[in-house]
Structures are given as C-alpha cells and as structure tokens.
Amino acid sequence: MKTLLEKVLRVCDHAEVYSRVVFSTSVSVQSGEMQGIESEKKTEVAIRIVKGDKMGAAVATSLEDESIIERAMVSLENQKSEAVEFPNEKVKDVNCSSDVVRNMTTQQLVKLTFDVSDRLKVIASDITSGVEFIKTVKEVKMVNSSGFESEYDYTNIAVQIYTLNEQGFYSTTKEYSGSDLPLIKDEHLEKMIELHRLGNQMVTLENEKMPVVFSGNVMGSLMLRVLGGVNGGNVSKGISPVGDKLGKKLFSEKITIRDDATMPLGCNSFAFDDEGTPAQNTVIYENGVLKSFLVSCGQSKKLGMKPTGNAQKRTLFSKEIEDAPSVFDTNIIIEGHSISDEAIIGGIKRGLFITGVMGAHTGNINQGDFSMNISSGFLIENGKLVGKVKGAMIAGNIYDLFQKVEVIGSEKEVMRSIFYTMGYSPMVLFSEANIVGK
C-alpha cells in the first residue's frame, strides 16, 4: 500500500490509499434442500488525490493496477469537488470481529443453516420455509499522506429466515445481523409461525386513520427518510428539509436516534470510516430534538462541524467499492420511552402491526415522503392480532409521523434499508397514520 501511496504522490500533493479484502460465503436452504453455496475473495482498492484545490478519485481490484493513478487524474481534472484535508486522528479499538466467525468453515455454516431449518420443521412441519446464512470477513487497511496508517478486521453473520404461503409467496421473515453468531430463540421462530398462520385470515381495511406499530425490522424504511434529512451531503447541497433546524424539536420527545459505529459487535461497526475518521457514537435526535447531522470530511468544512465518521465508499444499492465516499448510516440505534412489546400490542383497541413494506425506495425520500404497500401487516383488535391485511398502503411524511411516536418496544431487531441492514430498533407505536385500504 505504501508503495502505491509513494507512486501516487509523484503526481499530486496529497493522497489516500484504501484497500480491503472481502471474504464471504452464503449458504441457503429452502424446503429442507440446500440451494447453493456462493463464496468470494475480492480485493478492492480506492485512491483519492489532491492537487492544488482539486481532488480526484479512482478504484481498482488490485494494488498492482497502476492505471488507477491515471484515472484518478482524469477525475481530478474534470470534476468540481473541493479538496479535503485527509485526517490523521488516533483510532481506538472497536469490537467488530469475532474469531468464532472468522474461523468458521463452510461445513460449519452448512450445519448451522440446516439446524435452523430443522428447528422450524419441528415447530411447524406443515409450513414451507427457508434459511440463509451469510458469513463475511473483511480486512481493511488505509494510509494517507497526512501520516494516517491503520487497519481493522470485521466479521459479520447475517441470517434470513422466511416462510412461504400456499401459493409459494413470501409470508413472514425474520433476520439477524452482527459480528458474532446470533442467538436465534425458539420464541422468535414460534412468533414467525404464529404470524404465518394469521395469513389464513385475510382482512381488508377502509381508507382510515389508525394507530400503527412498525416492527423493528421495518423501521428501516422510515429511517432511510430520517437519514435523508440529516445526511451532510443533502444538508450542504441545500436539499434537506431540516438543514436549518439544528436544536429544534422535530419529533416526539419519546424517541432518541443515534448512529453508533462503536457498538460492540454491531452489524456495521468499524474502527474508522472509509476516509480514516475514527468511529463515533453520534446522537442525531435526542428526545425528539435534532442534535447533529452526519458529515464527511468534505462536508465538515462547509457546515462548520466535525466529521462524524460516516463516510463510506458505497451506494444505497451496492456495497461494491465506489470512488468517492458518501455519507451512510453505521448502526442506527432507536431508543426512548420503552415498554414491553406485548404491552404495546395489548394496549391497542384497533390498529395495525406492520412487519413488511414494499416501495421503500420510491418517492421523495430526502423530503421524508413515503407511500408504501403493506406487504405484511396485521390488524390489531382489542389488543390481539386478528388477521392479515390485504392490499393496503401507508402514506405520509416522516416529519408528521415521528411527532406521533407514543412508545417504543423492548426487543430490538435488525433494521433493513432496502438491500442492507442499518442498525437496530424495537417496534415503534405511532398514535395515528393514514392507511389507504381497498
């Protein structure tokens, strides 16, 4: 890496070299049969260069591919991004890897996958189900011309469990993601089966306003919109609806939202972000008050804030390496006024429990708008789930909806943001939302 850095510095004033080796294996079982095993060992390299007040970037799949320098120069000469100062701050250890996961063989992964599949079969032999385990190990290294030189290891196990209805379509899902092996409790599997069986009792809704509970997993679809507002890129471009609202109370005081890259064994924990800023725990909304944006080095100058360690060389739809880092979530943590999940559902006279949505990626995300199909939702009557909702949508804007947070649950689930996981949330009760029924 240092050799590449030296070569790069011959054509520019300052430079940064980032490289990672990603090993991953995924194993999936459906209806008790193993579908396939996919693995990869991939090297990804990215450089950024600064010359005068201009900056360029490029990526490659090998440290020996020197065309990366020439391509970074083309980028520097043609793009209008302002030069950033590469950081050199001390990196603290973050617990983001597990030896158990790193040393796990494919044979062991296969056994784990079959084990969960067999457990589901014992609970409900009549239901078709599937299980997928994905193991990822990453070795990340970075050097820059400011003197920064650091590295960290990352491991992750992601598990997806699902059931299929009689027509063969997805019915219920449950997922886990973290640096270590998750604890998949029997009660989680039993809950899935209970929801699956409710699919036999379909109910239709009118166009109505009602209390709505989002499961922790589905909170990701709303958090995508919360993040659109606090993303330093959107704030500095003047397209965030909350860009001028720091210190204002925008949400219910019952909710606090953090972004914590330092979380031990979190699904997206790391020691430093993709431009070398050490991992941080940033409170975004505290008891409903907007406390901070998430900013990269480039945006920090413009916004007069310190970088929050959220710069990542990826996109919303791809984790393949990108030239320029953008601001993304690490582990979003939702906290606040919490009671048990049972007490939340039990306290609702008539409402909706949403465990799956479609269309999270459509609409004006940065403005907070959403209009989503409820692909998995259950009608609550007098504190009990009474049936699965057919063909309903939920629509609104998060800046209205989040003022209506009543209470949050106790059991945290991993949140999903379209393709990837984005942290952890318990279920959240909103006192009222617009449902478009039949």
Binding site: S31, G36, V59, T61, E322, M358, N364, S371, N373, M393
Partner: protein, 450 residues
C-alpha cells in the same frame, strides 16, 4: 485474456464454468448546476461455478493467482450440498461478439460528455421553479469470456450508455419529482439533440405543482407505455424468472404453463435479441444464446425465463436469461427486454371509454413481493367523460397481480420502450434490463395518494 490457461484450469468432472471479465464504468454526476463527480472505474475478476454435488458451488475472485483456489473451493462447496444434480440440457457455443455502433461513446472525450450534460443542465436550471436536479451520464463496457467444461467458449463485449435526470420542482412547501432518461443503448448519438424533451420535462415537472393531490381509491386507468412497461416488469416479469420456482413447488404450481392469466388479446414477450435497448445482448452469462421468449400468449401462460439450472430442473429449454451485474456476482435469471405486445386500440379510444378515471404517465420505481406489486408514477391526468382534464399528483399504485392482469380491458396499437434500464434482484442492480409496452387500460385499479 489467456483463454488456454483458463480452459486448462477447468475441472473435468461434473459441470464447471468460468467467467472472467474486464469491467469499466464511466460516470459523470451532477447536482443542480455542478458536475461534481467524474469517475472512471476499472475492475477485473472472475467467477467460477462447479456442479459435482447437489447444487452449484460458486467462487468469485479478483486476483488471477486465486483461480485454482477458487475452483477448489467451489468444488468443496458443491460436494457439501447433499444430493447429485446433473445438467444434461445445455448448448455448446463458440463465438466472439464485438460491439459495433454508429457513434461509440468510448471515443467521445470526457470534456465533450460534460459539455453535453451542461447544456441540458442549463436548460433545466434556467427554469426558476426547478430547485434541484440530479444528473448522471453513465457508460458501461464489459469484455467477458465465458468458458465451460462442455466446450463453450464465448467472448462477448457489451456496451451501454445513457443520461438520466431526476428533476425536482418546488412551490412553497410542495415539491414534485420527475425523471427523464436518454439512451440506454450502445449509441452515443441517441443522447444528442434532446433539448425539446428536456424543456417538455421541465415544464411538466413545474405544471405538477399546480396539480391536485389524487384522492386515493379505485379507478379505471390508462397507463402510458412507460408505466405499462414498469407494471409488466414488476408485477409479472419477476414471477417469470424461473429461479424463483426452483425448490418452490407451490409457486411452480401457481405458475403452471397453460393457465389463463389475461384476456386473449394479451401477449407478453421478453426479447434480448432486439437491437438498441437496455436489455439487448447475444449470449447470457452462462454462454447460452439469448432467445425471444413468449411469456403470455393469447392470455395464457406460455413460457418463462431460464438459466441452465432452472431449465434442467424443470425440463424446459434454456432461454439465455442468466445474467450477473458483473464478475463479482453469480448469474441469476433476469429479464432482457420485457414488453406487452401491441393490439388494436388507439390511445384516444381507450381514453374515450372511461367516464371517471386517470391517465398515468412516467414511471418512478416499483417493487414486487409474490403476487403483490406496488409502483410509483410521476403524475396523471384526470379522465372525465372520455376527455383528458387537469393533472393530479402524488400517485402510487398497488395491486394483486392475477386480479389486475384479468382487469386489463384494452391494449394500445403502438409499443414504446423505456430509455432507462435498472432492476434490483438478489443484491444485484442490473442496468441492462429493458421494458416497454403498448399503453393499456385497466379497470378498477387501486391508487394510493400520499
């Protein structure tokens, strides 16, 4: 590419294939008036698959020195899968496909591409009510060698370029977003001289600010070609991808060939062999020749899209639809260019047939899960007593596939194709995915507002 070295590395037993690829991607991105990112990505890597056990073991690598390790690991993985799967139905193809096009984007300088982008950006941004514009020029070129131990040796170049805009207008607190795309094929000249379309889109985005929000409910609707294309892609196309049916007997039963899905005038085709669209190609990434495939013929389910694995398992013919985003991914079944074929009705006749409904225009993304689909559209015109009236905004559609297909009452007499591809499945966003349709009339469609 050292073809002989790669060929010699393949396993002799079972089925073993190898895809090695040089991948390059140029992108010029802008926000508002500024072009702030110019990126030229180049990656190289390979993907090997082995079938000696009960399923495919696959391994992706970027370091050519890992080739033998990759093959070894893929074999270990395949052998770990209980059972024994054997492919008997495959083509053996030997070919070298090179890109030839009228105006090759790779020969146009970055400077000239920026000038073109800036021209369109200025047109948009000179309208006062356009407050945000996200622009992108993209150009992807791949040179792929596909080898297997049955004798296939296909080397194929693929090229696609295009421009996309996401346009935001604003009045008070109200914002509206539309999209505009050019190109989606190999020819750079299709991106030139589009000023008129840019002006029209800018005006439409601004006019939407004065539109009324739609009142949620059920309407008789006419979908323009763009929205119909998105509908057939999301609602039906994904279900035609046979890898979903592998190991899912209930779904295979639901998708039984010969079942009546729609009226006899309704035909759906996927055709990667037509020239000049996002999903056009000669060979898929398993080296199978791409085939025009009827999915619905005369209203009945008549075919589906296959990979080697799904075709062998279902004892059907491989259609050449297994594709991967790049070497980093395993080929999965993907649509090429899917479209609803034309019938006899003029757009005017369809509109005249509706007393109280909507004419929906411009797709804005969608998703499907099982038999339920949802998608957003850029806007709509009200239809009252057979006539087009004012615009409405903030529309999202949702429905149940099988009911909606049966509710299609009229099919237009002219097909239009979207200029932008793009489809996500299994963590792979594939830009080379085309869709089109004749306009269609659907009765009783669920429309959600915001």
């Amino acid at each position: 590419m050292d073809t002989e070295k790669f060929k010699n590395a393949l396993l002799v037993e079972g089925f073993c294939d190898l895809r090695v690829q040089d991948f390059s991607f140029t992108s010029i991105k802008g926000t508002k008036r500024e072009l702030d990112t110019v990126a030229i990505i180049r990656k190289t890597g390979g993907n090997v698959r082995v079938l000696t056990g009960g399923g495919f073991g696959t391994f992706c690598f970027t370091d050519p020195r890992d080739l033998e390790f990759a093959i070894g690991e893929a074999k270990i993985a395949s052998d770990l899968i209980p059972g024994k799967k054997i492919l008997t139905n495959y083509e053996i193809n030997v070919d070298h496909v090179k890109v030839s096009t009228e105006m090759d984007p790779r020969k146009v300088s970055v400077e000239d591409k920026k000038t073109l982008m800036n021209k369109y950006i200025d047109i948009f941004m000179n309208y006062d009510s356009i407050v945000n514009l996200e622009s992108e020029y993209y150009e992807q070129f791949t040179d792929t060698l596909i080898l297997n131990n049955k004798g296939t040796e296909v080397r194929q170049e693929e090229l696609i370029c295009g421009i996309t805009f996401r346009v935001t207008s604003k009045k008070g607190d109200l914002t509206q977003i539309t999209r505009l795309s050019f190109g989606g094929n190999t020819n750079f000249s299709d991106l030139l001289d589009q000023d008129e379309a840019v002006h029209a889109k800018a005006k439409q985005t601004i006019d939407l600010l004065d539109a009324e929000p739609v009142v949620g409910g059920n309407y008789d609707v006419v979908l323009d070609s763009d929205v119909s294309g998105l509908f057939i892609h999301e609602a039906f196309g994904h279900l035609s991808e046979s890898d979903n049916l592998v190991g899912n007997l209930s779904l295979a039963e639901t998708m039984k060939l010969g079942e009546t899905f729609a009226t006899p005038d309704f035909n759906v085709i996927d055709d990667p062999t037509m020239n000049g669209y996002p999903g056009s190609y000669s060979y898929d990434h398993e080296g199978t020749i791409a085939k025009k495939t009827y999915l619905i013929k005369g209203g009945k389910l008549s075919g589906r899209l296959h990979s080697l694995e799904s075709a062998n398992l279902m004892k059907e013919t491989p259609t050449g639809h297994a594709r991967a985003k790049n070497f980093g991914f395993t080929p999965i079944v993907r649509m090429g260019n899917i479209y609803i074929d034309k019938d006899k009705h003029s757009l005017e006749d369809m509109i005249k047939s509706i007393d109280n409904g909507l004419y929906l225009f411009g797709s804005a993304g969608g998703q499907t899960s099982g038999d339920t689909f949802t998608f957003a559209v850029q806007g709509a015109y009200k239809i009252e007593n057979g006539e087009i009236k004012g615009m409405v905004r903030d529309l999202a559609l949702t429905g149940h596939l099988f009911t909606t297909l049966k509710n299609i009452e009229m099919i237009g007499n002219e097909i239009g194709f979207s200029k932008a591809g793009g489809c996500g499945k299994g963590g792979q966003i594939l830009i080379q995915s085309g869709k089109g349709s004749a306009p269609i009339k659907i009765k009783n469609m669920g429309i959600g507002g915001r």
